[in-house]
């Protein structure tokens, strides 16, 4: 029995997701009373959408510079960013499935992203002969998405096979080399007919449909200002796919396979003893996660309209980007990828605009220097305070440590000074976003291991009170004995 049976006797919090190890509030209620499971009716969801989603949507629009509702015209780059955020969120869903839920750290999912993007453009540009599909090998953009997913599923399964025996750093290293290997293959000149070699593929602009849907005369135009705009269409498309994938993943995680994945993550040996077929589970998880990331890649390629192997998101830094978004949002959290991706795109954009603007470098670096000096002083002071007895009692021992600390802090200052020298001959704040995200990864790994969503849930669960309903009113009580009904 690999299935974890706590359907009936777990307390379902709020919107009914208990899969994360951080928040399992399980156990039978006192006195054998059936447990209250909230009934999620249509009204519940309507209320939720009104209370949470609409303000959030409005906020996102303001954040990304979409001011059309209050006038002032649509900011096209803002819409493009929002679409990017949803597309990256889809890709991160894939990483989350394999790394967050199944516990196999992959730093190689940008490869699937690249494969998905290439698939989309190769098919829409008719670069391979597909006798039974498409008009003269030229595919409709929409139909390339499932093909990309299927292809990435296959590649993922193949990659997953050796990964069965690898763990930890070995798996991380292998996936890292995998990214570069895929990039070399995509660049390879012998495959130029299909992949375009080093120059990549430049496609025609993807023309979005005029109406989002056209249903018995009820028409919803794609562009809210009347024009069919690619960015707006990509927002609808990617958001719809993202929500679908979130629903799918949350379903998977409640299924037998999903429970087996979590069991594999938590303790491989125990999972195997319980009857989980590790090789099948890991292979399927790798395939599925590859497929999901591939869908994101296909959308990315269609939106961009051109691909080449040097697109940053396809390489090593793309893989790290996906990791950042997953860690910031929260590993093994269904809403994590969306939060993380929106955060990533938003902060990246701000950092980019700061880096590009003719910034007041002297002020920036004076502040940096002051912060550095302050940090060093605090560290030294803390060290001296902690070890003052040591230093007094054992002068020689304390003395060399103190010397070490002083030398270390002095060299940190010298290093800062040299960096300022480097700036003086023409540096720009190019890498600001990267530095921020790198530091965030370090900080999240140490202080916020469950990410933004996970931490929010932990925080929220302090305010949840579980009130058992009287048996007669609960739906679970009406069910026949032995059959557990969970109202969703």
């Amino acid at each position: 029995m690999s299935d974890v049976h706590h359907e009936g006797d777990s307390v379902t919090l709020d919107d009914g997701e208990v899969e994360m190890a951080t928040e399992v509030v399980s156990g039978k209620s006192a006195g054998g009373l059936p447990v209250f499971t909230p009934q999620h009716g249509a009204l519940h969801w309507l209320g939720r959408v009104l209370v949470f989603a609409l303000p959030l949507a409005y906020l996102l629009m303001r954040v990304f510079g979409v001011t059309g509702i209050v006038g002032g015209g649509w900011s096209n780059s803002g819409l493009g960013l929002l679409a990017d955020a949803f597309i990256i969120a889809i890709a991160v869903m894939g990483v989350n499935l394999i790394t967050g839920y199944t516990g196999q750290l992959s730093i190689g999912h940008s490869a699937f992203f690249a494969i998905g993007a290439y698939t989309g453009l190769v098919l829409t540009q008719g670069r391979v002969s597909t006798p039974f599909f498409g008009d003269e090998n030229v595919w409709d953009p929409g139909w390339t998405i499932p093909v990309a997913a299927a292809l990435c599923f296959l590649v993922g399964c193949v990659v997953g096979l050796p990964a069965l025996r690898l763990k930890g750093i070995y798996l991380a290293l292998t996936t890292l080399v995998f990214v570069e290997a895929v990039r070399s293959i995509l660049k390879y000149e012998k495959f130029e007919d299909v992949t375009g070699g080093a120059t990549g593929i430049k496609g025609d602009k993807y023309t979005p449909p005029e109406y989002v849907f056209d249903f018995f005369g009820i028409k919803l135009p794609t562009g809210l200002d009347g024009r069919a705009d690619l960015n707006q269409w990509m927002i609808y498309l990617s958001l719809a796919l993202l929500l679908f994938i979130m629903l799918m993943v949350s379903g998977i995680m409640r299924s037998r396979i999903g429970r087996a994945m979590v069991a594999t993550r938590d303790n491989e040996l125990a999972a195997e003893v319980m009857g989980v077929n590790l090789s099948v589970i890991k292979t399927v998880a790798f395939g599925l996660s590859g497929a999901i990331t591939g869908i994101g890649g296909a959308l990315f390629g269609l939106k961009l309209g051109l691909v080449d192997a040097d697109v940053p998101l396809f390489g090593l830094f793309g893989a790290i980007t996906l990791l950042v978004a997953m860690v910031v949002g929260g590993a093994a959290q269904n809403w994590g990828p969306m939060v993380g991706a929106v955060f990533y795109v938003f902060v990246n954009e701000i950092a980019r605009s700061i880096g590009e603007a003719p910034a007041d470098y002297e002020a920036v670096f004076t502040i940096t220097l002051i912060v550095l000096v302050a940090v060093v002083m605090v560290v030294v002071a803390r060290y001296v305070m902690q070890h003052r007895n040591d230093i007094r009692a054992n002068v020689s021992n304390g003395a060399w440590k103190a010397v070490l600390v002083v030398v270390g802090s002095m060299s940190a200052l010298v290093a800062a000074g040299v960096m300022l020298l480097g700036i003086s001959d023409g540096g720009k704040l190019d890498g600001l976003g990267g530095v921020i995200f790198g530091v965030l990864l370090i900080l999240f790994a140490r202080f916020v291991p469950f990410g933004a969503v996970g931490t929010f849930r932990i925080f929220r669960s302090r305010f949840v009170q579980i009130i058992p309903k009287p048996p007669s009113e609960s739906r679970a009580a009406k069910a026949p004995e032995g059959v557990q009904v969970q109202g969703r």
Binding site: L105, I169, L173, E180, A181, S184, D430, G434, L441, I442
Partner: protein, 295 residues
């Protein structure tokens, strides 16, 4: 034949860089069981420091020594501040944090030194006529110099590990941290020392590579991957393995580029195959110790 000798020296010189970097990886893996994903990037940052030092008029060898000292400090800082607090959590956390260091350090160099290539003078003569001949093959002194640097580092490391008390302590910590603690070794300091040593070696590898490869932010991205494959090939816990593996990978790369035309652009797929075959068929590598897991 002369072409063969020339390619062999090219491969050995390139391989020496990988061997240095692999040595750094092995020193860290032995002490903490981590693969330092930021190793290459710390080296790149140090090479940028060295280039700024030489610009300000310092002799090259002083700049290199200073860069190594900075590498020592950065790596020691990473161990103490980033790795140690989360060491005992799940292994994924440390990898994620080290990837964070990778990204931050890489982008830091872009932030302070820009994205244009910098110049870093070589320690060895690089004039057009500074080579010697074996038969018809022209061997550049620079390449021989890099191989020589590797030899010196290997000898110094051997002396450090086998002839000094600190080296003994480092081997003891690598073997068993708890017992080392019980016999009075300050494990924390030894770990910092090990990471610092690796940082210095990594910085040395970067400043050796920079003059010929051009100093940009992406200097060590490829070499880091080659060096990690080399370290796994040789056995992640074996310094001898790191050197042999590094030289082997360097030779393999040089000969693939030289003789196997259709694979010369497909080095990373080849590396993936090498890595996977080592991990699947001989996980301990050529010289590593077999791990016995008690279940």
């Amino acid at each position: 034949m002369s072409l063969f000798i020339q390619r062999m020296f090219d491969g050995l010189a390139e391989g020496s860089i990988y061997a240095l970097l692999a040595l750094a990886l092995v020193v860290i893996f032995r002490s903490t069981g981590q693969l330092n994903f930021a190793q290459g990037e710390i080296g790149t940052l140090c090479a940028f420091f060295a280039s700024t030092f030489t610009l300000s008029g310092l002799p090259v060898w002083v700049a290199i020594l200073l860069a190594m000292a900075i590498g020592f400090l950065i790596a020691a800082f990473v161990e103490r501040v980033v790795v140690r607090p989360i060491e005992n959590r799940n292994p994924g956390a440390v990898i994620v944090a080290l990837i964070g260091v990778f990204l931050a350090v890489n982008q830091l160099s872009a932030m302070f030194w820009g994205v244009d290539a910098r110049s870093l003078p070589s320690l060895f003569p690089t004039n057009a006529d500074s080579f010697f001949r074996i038969g018809d093959a022209a061997i550049r002194w620079e390449r021989v110099g890099i191989i020589g640097v590797l030899a010196v580092v290997v000898v110094l490391l051997f002396l450090l590990f086998n002839r000094t008390k600190i080296g003994l302590a480092m081997r003891a910590v690598a073997n068993n941290q708890e017992s080392s603690n019980l016999v009075g070794i300050r494990v924390g300091n030894i770990l910092i020392l090990g990471w610092g040593l690796a940082g210095a070696i990594g910085a040395l590898a970067a400043v050796m590579l920079a003059p010929s490869a051009g100093l940009t932010g992406t200097l060590m991205l490829g070499p880091f991957l080659y060096a990690s494959v080399a370290a796994v090939l040789g056995g992640l816990d074996s310094p001898v393995g790191a050197v042999v593996g590094g030289l082997l990978i360097g030779l393999l790369k040089a000969f693939l580029i030289g003789y196997v035309d259709f694979l010369s652009d497909m080095l990373f797929p080849v590396m993936l195959v090498v890595l996977l075959s080592v991990l699947l068929f001989r996980p301990a590598g050529l010289f590593g110790t077999e791990k016995v897991e008690r279940v």
